[in-house]
């Protein structure tokens, strides 16, 4: 027990939790905490340019390290600006602790200056939140926040601290017991059910692993165990956007990403398999497409730490509630112990079938000598960065899907993208957080010109802290995915999806004291990418690409996995959507 002020407790608790970097922005209601920050050197504060950027940076930090990301913002607008990031972290299950200042307790509810109902506003977009109205509760709330954020299905936790509590003095100690006795996430899977799963796998003729972000969230061990199990069984594997990197893309058992912009072989395998083993994935609507035609002939095993993910969209034949790593460990052990002889003949036939789907080469695109194709730009980026220690973040839209399709990942925690919420403006601040966590690695934000302008100001943060992030803008002047959908659904009426006035990104980079590069010809790409990688500063790379390119393959709008469109079908896509369908978008 040590006596200290509430503000000092915040710093002490962060230090006790091993926090290295705290992303934040000061303001009236957090000044005592900023004063305490000033007088210590345990926690390194990173000054962002907007609170949304702070939360995304913390997400980037968390996703690339597996640790809890931390944020400090002020009351009112500080808290409301953080809401997008909180929702993003909730959707993608990213562990964050976000500390918000609040007006003094006696002014709460009084419409005070910069007051908002932070716990009310953030209740639906956090895993849990606290309003600490008594100094005696503060140490417990802070430490519980870290426990809740990082255990079970991870998520963001807000601790709202009124200014008078920051000034108040109290006894600080790290609590030994967790007060919320009802909160006990189940990590070990039910062994009988795991045995049943092994039996189902042994009997399967057309099995498929469908894995998601839960494997990444579960930690490195989960990815290693997944690799082991996939090798042991010889089954094919596909993954969601969130799960990329858990299994190496270079492996022959890898079918590529599935879902709306997934590969032909991944989606057809989902449709035709007889056993689906879903690991840490939640049957999101971008994955399932039309629900009544989703993998009609398969039994489904669903492994997830969150019981509410099971039977939400798709009925599981066998549900195993538990942490991926724990369940996969049991599966590997039981598979080895039971000396299973899988139906080799059936598996071979299944692989042959998959081979014919693969031969479709669904990611093929027509390259050009005159104009840069976005897919080609990402391919060249990959070729020049694949042998480096590289982390990729993205914004949201076509470039994000192309990055997922054309930038193969071999390791987990290398791919930071806003999957669930689809937050434009995520990638640049996330790259700031990733670069801080990995100062000697290469961090590239594969961006779109529209998305990146939403959080462009964080380039200033990167410059301030000497973070040499590379912002690789796939610039087609359109909100490309919006344009693609307008082409599909709205007769090519491109309502407000074209940016008439874009900044000169090279000059913009210079204005921020960063480095700007423009590339307009396919022949210049390699040399200019090399320049980008050699410059030791943050770089804005304006890659001017074909404005008309669409993202294929594609499951058009609520169709089934076996109704995919390929690139050369682009001229026919307008026929793919019916009148009644347009209403529901």
């Amino acid at each position: 027990m040590t006596d200290m002020t509430g503000a000092e407790m915040v710093i002490q608790a962060l230090a006790d939790q091993g926090v290295e970097h705290l992303f934040g922005y000061p303001g009236g209601a957090v000044l005592p905490i900023y004063d305490a920050l000033f007088q210590q050197d345990k926690v390194n504060h990173i000054l962002v340019r907007h609170e949304q950027g702070a939360v995304h940076a913390a997400e980037g930090y968390a996703r690339s390290t597996g640790k809890v990301g931390t944020v400090l913002v002020t009351s009112g607008p500080g808290a409301t600006n953080a809401v997008t990031g909180l929702t993003d972290a909730l959707c993608d299950s990213i562990p964050l602790v976000v500390i918000t200042g609040q007006v003094p307790t006696h002014l709460i509810g009084n419409d005070a200056f910069q007051e908002c109902d932070t716990v009310g506003i953030t209740r639906p977009c956090t895993k849990y939140n606290y309003l600490v109205k008594n100094i005696a509760d503060l140490p417990r709330a802070l430490h519980e926040a870290f426990h809740i954020a990082s255990s079970g299905r991870p998520g963001p936790v807000v601790v709202d601290i009124p200014k008078d509590i920051q000034f108040a003095k109290g006894a600080y100690s790290r609590p030994k017991e967790f007060q919320h006795r009802g909160y006990r996430p189940k990590v070990k899977g039910d062994l009988d059910k795991i045995k049943e799963a092994i039996d189902m796998m042994a009997a399967a003729k057309r099995p498929l692993f469908y894995t998601g972000g839960g494997v990444i969230n579960s930690g490195r061990a989960a990815s290693d165990l997944l690799r082991e199990l996939v090798k042991l069984t010889g089954f094919p594997i596909t993954s969601t956007l969130m799960g990329l990197g858990a299994f190496p893309a270079a492996d022959r058992q890898w079918l590529g990403m599935l879902g709306m912009h997934g590969t032909w072989e991944a989606n057809w395998s989902m449709h035709d398999c007889d056993l689906m083993i879903a690991v840490g994935a939640r049957f999101d609507d971008r994955i399932t497409g039309r629900l009544d035609a989703f993998s009609p002939g398969s039994k489904k095993i669903h492994i997830d730490i969150d019981p509410s993910s099971i039977n939400k969209n798709v009925k599981a034949d066998l549900a195993i509630v538990g942490d991926c790593a724990h369940v996969l460990e049991d599966m590997v052990r039981l598979w080895r112990a039971s000396a299973i002889v899988p139906d080799k003949k059936a598996l071979q036939a299944w692989w042959e079938q998959i081979g014919t789907w693969r031969a479709k080469n669904s990611l093929a695109f027509r390259n050009s000598n005159e104009i840069i194709k976005p897919q080609y730009a990402i391919q060249r980026l990959y070729e020049q960065t694949k042998n480096r220690d590289t982390y990729i973040t993205t914004e949201v839209g076509q470039h994000q899907m192309w990055a997922a399709q054309f930038y193969p990942f071999q390791e987990p925690n290398r791919w930071m993208t806003s999957g669930g919420l689809g937050t434009m403006g995520y990638g640049l601040p996330a790259a700031v957080g990733v670069q801080l966590a990995h100062p000697n690695s290469l961090v590239v934000d594969i961006a779109g010109e529209a998305s990146v302008l939403m959080t462009m100001q964080e380039l200033s943060t990167a410059v301030q802290y000497d973070l040499p992030i590379k912002i690789f803008i796939i610039n087609n002047r359109y909100m490309g995915m919006v344009r693609q959908w307008q082409e599909l659904l709205h007769g090519g009426r491109y309502s407000h999806s074209y940016t008439e006035a874009l900044p000169d990104f090279v000059k913009l980079a210079e204005a921020y004291h960063a480095h700007g590069i423009r590339c307009e010809h396919p022949g210049d790409l390699d040399e200019k990418i090399r320049e980008m990688l050699e410059v030791k500063k943050p770089v804005l790379f304006d890659c001017v690409v074909d404005p008309a390119e669409n993202c294929f393959p594609m499951i058009p709008s609520g169709r089934a996995h076996n109704e995919m469109l390929l690139g050369d079908a682009a001229t026919r896509v307008e026929d793919a959507i019916t009148e009644e369908g347009k209403v529901l978008v």
Binding site: R123, I148, H180, G182, L291, D306, P307, S308, K312, R559
Partner: protein, 182 residues
């Protein structure tokens, strides 16, 4: 392309299954905001609340018991239970109606106004429904009545033509039959 298929940016709504009414008991930490958390979950995810009651039941442990009557398809009911159960301050969620009907009661206070023969009729009905008079004036009564929700419905319906002024109801509280606790 098949014109009959609903094709959208999102998958079509699933074919509707039969809707069931369920009574859920939720044991929660009695802390600020816990009721808002539960209600927000229902409104945010579009679940129904037919009735909701809450009160602290274990004072030393700071535990409150929330009784919720809700409607939904079996899949939605399962979702509701799982979504409630994953909330940090929620200890247990029990579906009281999963193993047959549970004991369900409501309390209502019913204010009526009338004179002469009407008053006699009110008292006769109250007697038949085992309602108690808890306030009386020359021209009014307040009755207290407990029972299943439909019994209270019947009582108020009968009082309506006799001079019903207002009704205050607690909402449903429920407990399972037999020796086992939740």
């Amino acid at each position: 392309m098949n014109a009959n298929t609903a094709t959208t940016h999102y998958p079509a709504a699933p074919a509707s299954q039969g809707v069931e009414t369920r009574t859920l008991c939720v044991l929660v930490d009695n802390e600020p905001g816990v009721l808002a958390r539960v209600i927000g979950l229902f409104s945010g995810r579009g679940y129904n609340i037919d009735s909701l009651t809450v009160s602290e039941t274990e004072h030393e442990k700071h535990l409150s018991r929330i009784t919720i009557v809700t409607r939904g398809t079996p899949m939605v009911i399962e979702q509701i239970k799982n979504q409630l159960d994953r909330q940090v301050p929620v200890h247990r969620v029990v579906d009281l109606t999963s193993g047959g009907p549970a004991l369900q009661r409501e309390l209502a206070m019913v204010k009526v106004r009338g004179k002469g023969e009407q008053r006699m009729e009110m008292l006769r009905l109250a007697d038949a429904f085992r309602a108690r008079v808890i306030d009386a004036t020359n021209e009014s009564f307040v009755f207290e009545i407990t029972g299943a929700s439909d019994k209270i419905d019947s009582f108020t319906n009968l009082m309506l033509p006799l001079g019903l002024v207002e009704v205050s109801r607690t909402g449903v509280v429920a407990i399972s039959r037999g020796p086992e606790g939740m």
